[in-house]
């Protein structure tokens, strides 16, 4: 080791088996790490399977996942709540990369998913504008478009971690109100300019065409900055559960403000104080006050693998994989720990690293078969670092429900089972 200036792939980088991220940067393990990996044994003789001998089925109009992947589905609670009220959650532990398949993007709806005929749908812009305007979907589709990859995270994501005792939940149940798509549509500023903004206007009340007419007040500055009226999600028209035929995207802002099934934008001088910006999506602090209008989803990360339900099969090499994101900008660094935060090492970040989009991070881990607590800690390019649970609670208490972004922990026991814990 004398005279060595750079860590080698496979070198320990932090306690309890975290290895250098150079494994990912250089694409290969050195002999030492490989030999310390899973015992490989001998493979069975290869056999010729039935599907190798006869033609398979023909083409299909719309592709579906393999039937062997039937367990990769969104999860949602059974009744008694009325159907379509509440949320379905993305199975983050079964996915990779940065993009959420459209059919697995979480849903949050307040009165089910409306079945909207796009030819009958209208978007109206009115209020403090010079020219109230109505747009058909066809008209919206004629404007110059933009695409951007952006996460949407429900303001209530990870709220289970406010509970005083750690609940036996998996990553989907705790953190699954997170999705990322390539969104394509028309800049909202283009349409607001066309309508002509009156000088008194400061807010835009956005409203959906669902039975709940879900409604939020949005700062005009955000509407003019990077708001997008999305017609496409991952290259195809936005899914009904995500706002077909047109939804609002406010990159980095809490999910609830990204109004789906958008039918109306009213410019006003003051916020409307709707139900979802007063009684909900406000954060009750340690004292009797509550934060209102909490817009950005602050820097956060979560390890998706290993995680509860994904049992480790004996000591050896494992990749720790997860997602990190910030509503305030780009992810600059993600650190991982296998000893409950006593020591940290930087993870490899999988490009592209985009503002207000999740980054896949990876770390190499040599599990010795003993107890471990896996954590990830993200830092964004504003310099904000994800707080510990204690720091998070010190600032605002644990009564706030929304915008929980503290470091999360998975305990790995001797059997290789992962569970949600607080440290």
């Amino acid at each position: 080791m004398v005279g060595k200036t750079h860590p080698e792939p496979g070198d320990p980088a932090a306690g309890n088996g975290i290895l250098s991220r150079r494994i990912f940067l250089e694409g290969a393990l050195v002999a030492g790490a490989t030999s310390a990996g899973l015992s490989r044994g001998s493979a069975e003789p290869l056999t010729v399977q039935p599907w190798m001998k006869v033609p398979g089925p023909g083409f299909g109009g719309y592709g579906q996942p393999s039937p062997f992947e039937s367990k990769v589905i969104k999860v949602f609670p059974p009744p008694p709540n009325p159907a379509g009220v509440g949320a379905s959650r993305t199975p983050l532990h079964m996915l990779e990369g940065m993009i959420t398949p459209s059919g697995l993007h979480f849903e949050r709806s307040h009165s089910g998913v409306p079945e909207i005929d796009p030819d009958q749908h209208r978007l109206v812009i009115h209020g403090l504008v010079k020219r109230p305007l109505v747009f058909t979907v066809e008209a919206l589709s004629r404007y110059p478009m933009q695409s951007r990859i952006a996460f949407i995270e429900c303001g209530g994501n990870s709220q289970a971690l406010n509970a005083p005792q750690a609940q036996p939940l998996n990553v989907a149940a705790i953190h699954g109100l997170l999705g990322c798509s390539e969104w394509t549509g028309v800049r909202l500023s283009t349409l607001l300019d066309e309508a002509g903004i009156e000088p008194q206007a400061r807010w835009v009340i956005a409203e959906g065409a669902d039975a709940a007419a879900m409604s939020r007040s949005i700062p005009l500055a955000k509407a003019m900055d990077d708001a997008l009226l999305c017609l496409y999600q991952n290259g195809e028209r936005v899914r009904p559960s995500n706002g077909y035929p047109v939804r609002l995207l406010l990159p980095g802002f809490e999910g609830n403000m990204n109004v789906k099934w958008l039918r109306r934008l009213k410019l006003t001088a003051d916020p409307a104080m709707t139900k979802d910006e007063t009684s909900k999506y406000t954060i009750l602090l340690k004292d009797e006050k509550a934060w209102q209008f909490v817009f950005p989803m602050e820097v956060k990360s979560v390890i998706t693998r290993p995680s509860p339900g994904l049992t480790l099969r004996g000591p050896g090499f494992y990749e720790i994989s997860g997602q990190a994101w910030s509503g305030n900008g780009s992810i600059r660094q993600v650190d991982v720990s296998a000893d409950g935060g006593r020591s940290w090492a930087p993870a490899a970040l999988q490009g592209p690293i985009l503002p207000k989009a999740p980054v896949r991070f990876r770390a190499a881990w040599q599990w010795n078969g003993g107890p471990a607590v896996l954590q990830s800690r993200a830092t964004d390019d504003t310099g904000m670092m994800q707080p510990t649970r204690a720091q998070f609670g010190d600032e605002r208490g644990l009564r706030g429900v929304y915008h929980y972004n503290a470091i999360a922990s998975w305990r790995i026991d001797e059997k290789g089972e992962a569970s949600n814990v607080y440290v």
Partner: protein, 178 residues
């Protein structure tokens, strides 16, 4: 020299009528009266409240018929968890208590109650109540919380004047983007 020339070009692009005609404009104009059926936003100052009136006594029957199945008898003990309690919870915002956030204990504006009931309730048939019915059921929920009297007339003039107990309970988030 270069700078002033650039500015001149910009000005001609954005203010010239020829340039405007080239920018896509596919919105159709619409008269405010033709938006009225959709314009259901109520401001905290009462802007947008329709004509009509109601009292808590009138609202009780509407509540029993259309709201109670989910929200529970007198707004307590809802059968639908997400419906939440509408009544009670006073004092539970205090430090170290488990907050019970109801219309009475938490909501800062009475106008929000009218706005939300009119747009989203009853759950199975939203936007079906008349303005009088929304005023009446609003009055009933406020009465159950001890905020208005059973015979108080709630209308476009009186509703914005209702002082909610937690009116001053909210502060701005300190880390919003500028």
């Amino acid at each position: 020299m270069f700078t002033s020339k650039s500015v001149a070009v910009c000005v001609s692009l954005t203010s010239g009528s020829a340039a405007l005609a080239q920018s896509p404009q596919f919105g159709q104009s619409i008269e405010p009266a033709d938006i009225a059926a959709w314009d259901i936003s109520i401001g905290p100052d009462g802007a947008g409240l329709p004509p009509g009136r109601g009292t808590a006594i009138e609202g009780e029957a509407i509540y029993v018929a259309k709201c109670q199945a989910c929200h529970g008898d007198r707004g307590i003990g809802p059968s639908v968890v997400l419906a939440g309690a509408l009544v009670g919870g006073m004092g539970t915002l205090a430090p170290d208590k488990t907050p019970i956030k109801t219309v009475g204990s938490y909501w800062p504006y009475a106008t929000t109650l009218f706005d939300y009931v009119r747009r989203a309730m009853p759950f199975q048939e939203s936007k079906s109540l008349t303005a009088d019915e929304v005023y009446a059921v609003t009055a009933y929920i406020l009465d159950l919380n001890g905020i208005v009297g059973s015979n108080d007339v709630i209308d476009a003039q009186s509703l914005p004047k209702v002082r909610m107990p937690n009116r001053d309970g909210f502060i701005p988030f300190p880390r919003n983007p500028k």
